[in-house]
């Protein structure tokens, strides 16, 4: 799995001390590599457009001078709203050069979320990508009196705008260049004055429990975390990395910025959202960090494509995957595979596993990480069976994303691994996981009460997650402490575990389970994956119009019931799903039902679907709901929808073992 790592000798990270900041590292990389290495490349016009360390450094300096000429002061917050582009990085490093910091806003954010971040951060200058993002700010401007400048970099469609506070990115750079010539040496003083303790970025917490909070992370926090990640898994300067998840997310900041500047590897940005998969395959990254959603999507796409392939390919994959699974299991137990298994695996890798990795763009991958939310053990196991060294990372925005992780060849599917070097862990008396390290954040911006709740007097970070350490010192995370369910016999169980079992089905998109402590009456609201279920319906010549129509089909309920039955087989008797219902719509971040990082907001679901949940808990045969549809022209229509509740009592699957025929006997 770690083929090629020896060949690519890991370079040492740049030296870091208390005074090191990200802009200082950038200057050092310019000195070291100048024009000989690519800092950033963006796919544009069909080819990778490179920017060397020297050019990146020059752009950062120009933009920093430009920001200074606009009156940005140390300690101020500059917001960036847009997809991952070189300009995002330039803006971030330029703000940091002045002793200011950046807050990223998810590019899909709308209305209230944007107002909230910009107001709480007291933002004056926003860097927005294009017309779409600029329009959002213009629409909200009345509620954002503090905004003084909006700087955009994709000019298309904005040429004819006559808005006084708009300014083009290149214009800011040009003014900056002039301003810099008039203020020789000023910027160098600012950069030299920077300390590791200065706030570098503000990341919004995912906000599953309420409004996102603004967590302040210092240069030292980020660099410490990057250093400890690199101690566990050295990332070489030659590594390939595709940055396609929002830079507003700590996970992306962590690898792209904190590790990138410490190690000097090339950062690649995808052309646009629709080409991410193709760009990933073209680049063939060595390192990848993604939330469970990405891995689940990849798994679904493989399952669907294997299902649609001819019988020979299906058989070959089923056999190869079974061999791969046995091989991975043996290795992860720390044993050496026998000669026969090694031979079999060689063949399986050649005929079945490598081609699948190739389709996913994972042929070069040395290490892949998942984090941000729990990943189902089945998905985990699948990726190991096809030869992807997938590892769990546990952390929170408040501790720079990484605190606990798997090390190579010490991977257990049910755990999140061992604490990173320099991280102390303690389980509180109430079962809460407490963490302490140099990467623990500085506090929430302008919210000292919340900060005091998160960090105690001794410096322990209270994660709000319940968990325990197993006999090998691995951390097992059960769930959010307040979400942990108590079974009739008093043991605690994780609803996320059940939800992940349900989501392992390629047809299930999201699952939310409901329970009452002390009872084993568990119910679930499921949403279907329109792509996979749609393909399934087409194969069966089942006509449908909209998502609502598809989710309402009796045949689809039957299909999902089989999937639920299969998930139930893997669950202890007392936590099996008794009843479920297919929701008439998908969860949508615009409706606040899930966060921008696609975590379910239980509180919102509980409020919005109270009648449905009531019906589910009571065991009614169906529930009536009113659905309000807002059309694009702003008019709304109310429709009555009846949702059928499916009871799993006495349900016997018609096609037992259907997945096994797809996947080999890996149960």
């Amino acid at each position: 799995m770690s083929r090629g790592l020896e060949r690519r000798a890991a370079t040492d990270p740049l030296p870091v001390d208390d005074a090191t900041t990200l802009p200082k590292l950038l200057a050092e990389l310019d000195r070291r590599f100048a024009d000989t290495r690519i800092a950033v490349q963006e796919k544009r016009y069909g080819i990778w457009q490179p920017i060397s360390w020297r050019d990146l450094h020059a752009r950062v300096r120009d933009f920093a001078h430009g920001l200074a000429s606009l009156g940005v002061r140390p300690g101020e917050v500059v917001a960036v709203l847009g997809d991952n582009r070189p300009e995002w990085l330039v803006a971030e490093l330029a703000a940091q050069s002045l002793g200011a910091c950046t807050v990223g806003i998810y590019p899909t954010s709308v209305g209230e979320e944007i107002v909230h971040v910009l107001t709480d951060g007291q933002v004056r200058v926003v860097v927005a990508e294009d017309q779409e993002q600029v329009d959002k700010i213009i629409d909200l401007k009345d509620r954002l009196p503090g905004i003084e400048k909006v700087i955009y970099y994709d000019t298309r469609g904005l040429e004819l705008y006559e808005v006084p506070y708009l300014m083009e990115f290149t214009a800011v750079e040009a003014t900056g260049r002039e301003w810099g010539e008039a203020h020789q040496g000023w910027l160098d003083e600012q950069i030299a004055a920077g300390r590791g303790d200065d706030v570098a970025v503000i990341c919004t917490t995912s906000g599953t429990t309420g409004r996102p909070k603004l967590a302040m992370l210092s240069h030292a926090n980020l660099l410490e975390m990057g250093r400890s990640l690199n101690m566990v898994d050295p990332i070489g300067v030659e590594s390939r990395y595709l940055s396609f998840l929002p830079l507003a997310w700590i996970g992306e900041q962590m690898i792209a910025v904190a590790c990138g500047l410490q190690l000097g590897f090339t950062l690649s940005f995808a052309e646009e959202a629709g080409t991410q998969r193709a760009d990933l395959r073209e680049l063939g990254p060595n390192v990848m960090f993604s939330p469970p959603r990405i891995w689940e999507d990849m798994l679904s796409s493989i399952m669907v494509r294997v299902g649609e392939a001819g019988w020979l390919k299906r058989k070959a994959f089923a056999w190869g995957q079974a061999v791969g699974d046995r091989y991975a299991e043996t290795r992860l137990k720390g044993e050496k595979a026998g000669l026969l298994l090694r031979l079999q695996h060689r063949v399986a890798d050649w005929v079945a596993l490598r081609p699948v990795r190739d389709q996913l763009g994972l042929t070069r991958i040395d290490r892949a990480y998942t984090g941000g939310a729990p990943l189902g053990p089945d998905v985990f196991r699948f990726f190991h069976s096809i030869g992807v060294n997938l590892k769990q990372i546990y952390g929170q925005t408040e501790i720079c994303g990484i605190a606990v992780m798997h090390t190579d060849d010490d991977i257990k599917f049910a755990t999140v691994g061992k604490p990173c070097p320099g991280t102390d862990i303690r389980i509180a008396d109430n079962g809460e996981i407490l963490l302490k390290s140099k990467a623990v954040f500085h506090g929430y911006y302008g919210n000292e009460a919340a900060t005091a709740e998160a960090i105690d007097a001794e410096g322990w970070l209270h994660t709000g997650d319940a968990g325990y350490l197993d006999e090998h010192g691995h951390l097992v995370v059960i769930d959010r402490a307040k979400d942990v369910m108590e079974m009739p016999d008093g043991t605690r169980f994780s609803p996320a575990f059940i939800e992940n079992k349900l989501k392992f089905s390629p047809y299930v998109d999201e699952a939310v389970v409901f329970w009452q402590d002390g009872s084993s009456d568990i119910t679930a609201i499921l949403t279907i994956d329109p792509a996979t279920v749609g393909a399934w319906a087409e194969h069966r010549r089942l006509g449908y119009t909209t998502y609502t129509d598809l989710a309402g089909k009796a045949e689809v309920r039957e299909l999902i019931a089989e999937e639920v039955a299969r998930a139930n087989e893997d669950l202890p008797e007392s936590v099996r799903v008794r009843r479920f219902l297919l929701l008439h719509k998908q969860f949508d971040p615009d409706d606040d039902e899930i966060t921008r990082t696609r975590k379910v907001r239980r509180r919102v679901i509980n409020e919005r679907y109270a009648t449905i949940i009531e019906g589910l808990v009571e065991g009614a045969p169906e529930v009536q709901i009113k659905s309000v549809v807002t059309y694009q022209d702003g008019t709304t229509a109310t429709r009555d929808i009846t949702l059928q509740i499916v009871s799993m009592d006495g349900f016997t699957p018609k096609h037992p073992g259907a997945r096994r025929s797809l996947f080999g006997s890996n149960a």
Binding site: Y45, G46, R59, D154, T155, R156, T275, Q632
Partner: protein
């Protein structure tokens, strides 16, 4: 390093508002059928000029006359293709008309289905490329440079129309909305002076129509390309066009701004049918 486009897609050198196309008393007969009957109107540089009318009114016939596929028996079609430079398009071959900067799309998509999106778009550059057989075949020297230079413009069109994700896909395998966009793209790659669009939104759902309308507006706003389009969706016409000409049974019954045309009694009669006179 600005992200602005480097190539101008507008092939016309006329100033905005100048007279670009004169359709003078054009009559087209197929045997005894008069498809066009003394049609006359003007198109100004930089306008989005819509041609509307009921089925069989002669809209596509008129477009075919402009692009040289049909030859009207009577009348002239005068194209102003530069300061003081005029040419009567009647009796000019379609290839020569294309070289004057008239590009078009078709009602039923006319793309090379087995070729990729990129190859189809590169074909749009054909009129601007000089080929030497051996050099092109072996892909060296000036041919290679030319190919790379032309590809830059094609990539800007791909970016403008947001079709990056299908760049290397076969056109025949694409969804209908994408094919329509590719066809528009191929016409744009010619750097047209005059763009003729025959029902660019036919058969599209509301969202696809909105997208297409935005692309047409972008092309017009950003590059200033004169666009003559045939469309049935009155909502779209009223929203995006600067000027509207109405055909009915081969005659031009109205010509004016969308508001004027919308309130014209003859137009209402043509569309809604005349009330029966008792």
């Amino acid at each position: 390093m600005s992200r602005a486009y480097r190539h101008n897609l507008n092939g016309s050198t006329l100033r905005a508002g100048a007279l670009q196309l004169e359709i003078k008393d054009v009559t087209l007969r197929f045997g005894g059928v008069r498809a066009l009957d003394g049609v006359a109107f003007n198109v100004a540089q930089g306008d989005i000029h819509a041609i509307i009318g009921p089925n069989g009114a002669g809209k596509t016939s008129l477009l075919n006359c402009i692009s040289g596929l049909y030859r009207p028996q009577v009348g002239e079609i005068i194209l102003h293709y530069g300061e003081g430079a005029v040419r009567n398009l009647v009796r000019t071959r379609p290839g020569a008309i294309a070289r004057l900067g008239v590009a078009r799309t078709f009602q039923n998509i006319e793309l090379f289905r087995q070729m990729t999106v990129l190859e189809n778009l590169m074909l749009g550059r054909h009129v601007h490329m000089k080929h030497r057989l051996a050099a092109s075949f072996l892909y060296y020297g000036p041919s290679q440079k030319q190919e790379i230079r032309e590809r830059e413009l094609v990539e800007e069109v791909i970016d403008l129309l947001e079709i990056q994700s299908v760049r290397t896909k076969q056109v025949g395998a694409l969804a209908y909305g994408f094919q329509k966009r590719v066809e528009l793209g191929r016409a744009l790659c010619m750097q047209p002076a005059l763009l003729l669009l025959d029902e660019p939104m036919a058969g599209m759902n509301a969202e696809e129509k909105e997208d297409m309308a935005r692309f047409i507006l972008d092309v017009n706003d950003l590059a200033g390309v004169t666009t003559v389009l045939i469309e049935h969706d009155m909502g779209v016409i009223m929203d995006i066009s600067d000027r509207v000409s109405v055909l009915d049974f081969g005659r031009c019954i109205a010509d004016g701004s969308p508001a004027e045309v919308g309130s014209d009694q003859a137009v209402r009669d043509a569309y809604l049918g005349q009330e029966a006179h008792a």
